[in-house]
């Protein structure tokens, strides 16, 4: 295995030295794929990229070379992707963070909507957690509690992206003024304050929620997606945006490409990503990391992305 990789690496070096890669239809990708992670090594996105790249040879016939380009809330990495050739051999492992960062900027270095999306590889499920035995420990209870003006406002902590979930659900019911959204720079800090009783509720990712389910109540899942089997076992029946008849908020993890990338390459890359996510070793490792693979091909992803952007833009002013 290792030998093969080395040989492939050597061969690649040789091919680079000998000739500029000739683009021919059908044999795309025909070179190593530069995989840009817009964060420093070690974050969640980085882990996805490294797990996926570990199986890339088998699917692409070429490696995925992970490059961390961190800084400025992911905007450095996104901008770096925009500076690459639109030849289909550079992809960005994106998350909502660089999108939000650009939306916050008065003069953003790029337009987060002017981008091609090859695939979704996961969708986060913003999950609201509350202490057990409170009047707001269930969704119905929460709505009733907030509708009664004599009750105190509730505080919800979490990262900005995560908070947009419950914020959008409550705003659809006209209850956004009855809660205080408390942004945190990391889930860890938010959960710490929640467990210490300093905030009433916390909004977290699925894997964190599973860890908390034992001693806390899971109120709502703001996305349109069902939890996986293991999470369901731990958390029981949790209403999600669709079952509640509300517009969901589905923050994606996605593979972005340069806006000028030809259509067929975007589609082909999306397909290959699907195959990659379907390999046994990737499935196993991602499962162990407590994450869910949720694949959408390029057409589906681009449609879903438009929707989530519209939602995000609508509710971001709640934070300002």
């Amino acid at each position: 295995m290792k030998l093969m990789k080395l040989m492939a690496l050597a061969a690649m070096g040789a091919s680079l030295a000998l000739a500029a890669p000739a683009m021919a239809e059908g044999d795309y990708p025909n070179n190593t794929i530069k995989t840009i992670v817009p964060f420093g090594a070690g974050g969640g996105t980085d882990r996805w990229a490294r797990v996926m790249s570990s199986a890339a040879f088998d699917v692409f016939g070429h490696g995925m070379h992970v490059q961390n380009r961190g800084g400025a809330g992911g905007t450095i990495g996104w901008k770096y992707m925009m500076d690459q050739k639109a030849d289909g051999h550079s992809v960005l492992m994106a998350s909502p963070t660089p999108v939000m960062a650009a939306l916050m900027e008065k003069n953003p270095p790029y337009d987060p909507e002017n981008v091609r999306i090859a695939a979704y590889y996961s969708v986060m499920k913003p999950t609201l957690v509350a202490p057990k035995g409170k009047p707001y420990s269930t969704w119905a209870g929460l709505v009733a509690y907030l509708k009664d003006d004599s009750n105190k406002k509730l505080t919800i902590g979490g990262t900005m992206t995560q908070l947009l979930g419950p914020a959008s659900l409550l705003a659809q019911l006209g209850l956004e003024k009855r809660v205080i959204l408390v942004p945190y720079s990391g889930t860890g800090k938010a959960v710490n304050d929640y467990l210490g009783g300093h905030i009433s509720m916390v909004n977290v990712t699925t894997s964190t929620a599973v860890g908390l389910a034992d001693k806390n109540a899971i109120v709502v899942n703001a996305s349109s997606l069902e939890y996986n089997k293991k999470a369901k076992e731990a958390m029981g029946d949790v209403p999600n945006a669709v079952t509640l008849g509300l517009t969901p908020f589905d923050p994606p993890r996605f593979v972005a490409m340069h806006p000028d990338t030809p259509d067929e390459q975007v589609v082909a890359m999306g397909k290959k990503m699907g195959e990659l996510l379907n390999t046994k070793s990737v499935k196993r490792l991602i499962g162990k990391l407590g994450e869910d693979i949720i694949y959408k091909d390029s057409a589906e992803s681009e449609a879903a992305y438009k929707q989530v952007m519209a939602e995000a833009k609508k509710y971001l002013p709640l934070f300002q």
Partner: protein, 523 residues
């Protein structure tokens, strides 16, 4: 209470050649990574994580924990040898460590750094193992208002680092605050104070700042010095040969023992800081250094004393074990490194969380054993590195300066592969040179840069939660009130001390003037 079967299993897992080898590899890589400016424990662990995909539990944990411990110590090696902190947590080690080096006592400084690191690390690991759940409960008491007061208290404690010219010390602190406000507003995430530069949208990061102010500043100063005193190095060969000869003043056991007070301060501060999410080892080191300096003014810490090195190094290594407390107790990582170790545990099939002790006792015990064992590896491997680096530090500056400058560029870039970080580092290089020339102390800048944004974030978060009620925000609990009283008391005491110092200075001056007058009369 102790699951003996699991403990035996863990011992059988950990004490194999295979596992021990990976701990040794981890520590070696860690010390090496830590010693290179800009490369941190987080980077090292993140890069090694994919390797653990195919390893067994004990080996994977051995590699990562070994690397972590090695990297935190490794930063001090280059801090002492070249005045270039390898990692930001070693910045506080520069003050006394490099002065010792300049006096030809580099080996002594490197050894006390190693022993203080390992001692504090070992003891904090034991504390973690014994009372992790209790520590975790204490950490939960710290909400926004308690954290706010804690930060204020920390900043007040560090008055001692302001140096002999108070206004310059305060200027440094204000500069740290100013630089700290560059980036996103903590409540709305809207960029502020970015001079309309998009790449400053999330602010300036600690690594390019520290590398610029300390490493680049020091090297620029050396260049200026060299240009005033022209000298040529002709026999490089002889110097290189000298690298491999042993020698230099070592450290006696008595000297090690004489630092017990500083090591204890480091242990206490580091353990406390480590278990609170979001503070980290740099704060641990500076806080411990500042408190030690204030606690024993007669030791003159800051003028090149082993006690100063001991306090700073004990303070940063003591955070290693406690960083894992929130992870093990609640499954929430308190730092980037803890998140990575959490990921490694998950890849090994053990989800960190409160039920970990029941569900995966073998993994937990293995983790504890490795935490303890890693210290011994650190001791042995750290010594080898320390000797080599102590000798490298004796290379003539004409050779050393370009190398360290090159390393600073590589480090500032490699940490996040962000080209703008190199620019930031270079700009802070000239700021560092100015600060050195005008004798503005660096420590207050780093401390307020680290703590003031957190104080602001917590204050505003508290106000948000309490709907703008200042009293409710600032006095939310007995703990918050206690901390507030401590801040007031500390400010009072240190002002009094400052005034009495000033008075005695004036008295000394008067005496001296009188003596001079007498002498004049006599002549």
């Amino acid at each position: 209470m102790i699951n003996m079967d699991a403990l035996y299993d863990a011992i059988a897992l950990v004490f194999t050649w295979h596992t021990l080898m990976w701990i040794a590899i981890g520590v070696t890589i860690g010390v090496g990574v830590g010693a290179m400016p800009g490369l941190t424990a987080t980077t090292g662990i993140a890069l090694m994580l994919p390797l653990t995909f195919t390893m067994d539990q004990a080996a994977a944990l051995g590699l990562l924990i070994g690397l972590y411990k090695g990297a935190i110590y490794g930063g001090s090696i280059s801090a002492i040898s070249f005045a270039t902190p390898g990692t930001s947590e070693a910045a506080a080690t520069v003050f006394d460590g490099h002065k010792l080096m300049l006096r030809g006592k580099g080996k002594k400084a490197l050894l006390i750094a190693l022993y203080a690191s390992v001692t504090a690390d070992f003891l904090s690991d034991v504390i973690t193992i014994l009372i992790a759940p209790m520590l975790a409960l204490v950490a939960l008491k710290f909400g926004p208002s308690e954290r706010f007061w804690l930060m204020v208290l920390a900043v007040c404690l560090l008055g001692a680092l302001s140096g002999s010219h108070f206004a310059k010390g305060m200027l440094s602190a204000a500069m740290g605050l100013f630089i700290g406000t560059i980036g996103a507003d903590p409540v709305s995430s809207v960029p502020r104070n970015t001079f309309d530069l998009w790449w400053l949208g999330e602010g300036i990061h600690l690594i390019p700042l520290v590398v610029g102010i300390f490493a680049m500043g020091a090297m620029l100063e050396k260049i200026v010095e060299m240009s005033t005193v022209k000298q040529k190095v002709q026999r490089l060969g002889g110097t290189v040969k000298g690298l491999f000869s042993m020698g230099g003043e070592g450290l006696s056991f008595k000297e090690y023992l004489s630092c017990w007070k500083e090591i204890s301060i480091g242990l206490g501060v580091g353990t406390f800081v480590g278990m609170l999410p979001g503070l980290g080892s740099t704060v641990g080191a500076f806080l411990s250094y500042g408190i030690a300096k204030q606690a024993s003014p007669e030791k003159k810490i800051g003028t090149g004393k082993i006690e100063g090195v001991a306090a700073a190094e004990a303070g940063n290594n003591a955070t290693v074990g406690p960083t894992l407390v929130p992870l093990l107790a609640f499954g929430i990582p308190g730092s980037a490194v803890a998140a990575l170790i959490g990921a490694a545990l998950m890849l090994q099939g053990a989800t960190p969380g409160p039920r970990m002790f029941e569900l995966y006792p073998t993994i937990i015990y293995s983790l504890f054993l490795i935490l303890i064992l890693g210290n011994f590896f650190n001791l042995g491997i750290g010594r080898i590195f320390a000797f080599v680096y102590a000798k490298l530090g004796e290379l003539p500056p004409q050779v050393l300066v370009p190398i360290v400058m090159g390393m600073a560029v590589i480090g500032a870039y490699s940490y996040a592969n962000n080209e703008w970080d190199v620019l930031v580092m270079l700009v802070f290089g000239i700021v560092g040179l100015f600060m050195r020339t005008f004798r503005i102390p660096e420590a207050p800048l780093i401390i307020t840069f680290l703590l003031a944004p957190q104080a602001e974030e917590n204050l505003r978060r508290g106000l948000l939660i309490n709907e703008g009620d200042w009293v409710a925000t600032l006095m939310s609990s007995p703990l918050a009130i206690g901390l507030a009283i401590a801040v007031v008391a500390l400010t009072y005491i240190s002002t009094r001390m400052r005034i009495s110092e000033r008075m005695s200075e004036i008295a000394d001056d008067a005496e001296a003037a009188e003596a001079e007058a007498k002498a004049n009369k006599a002549s």
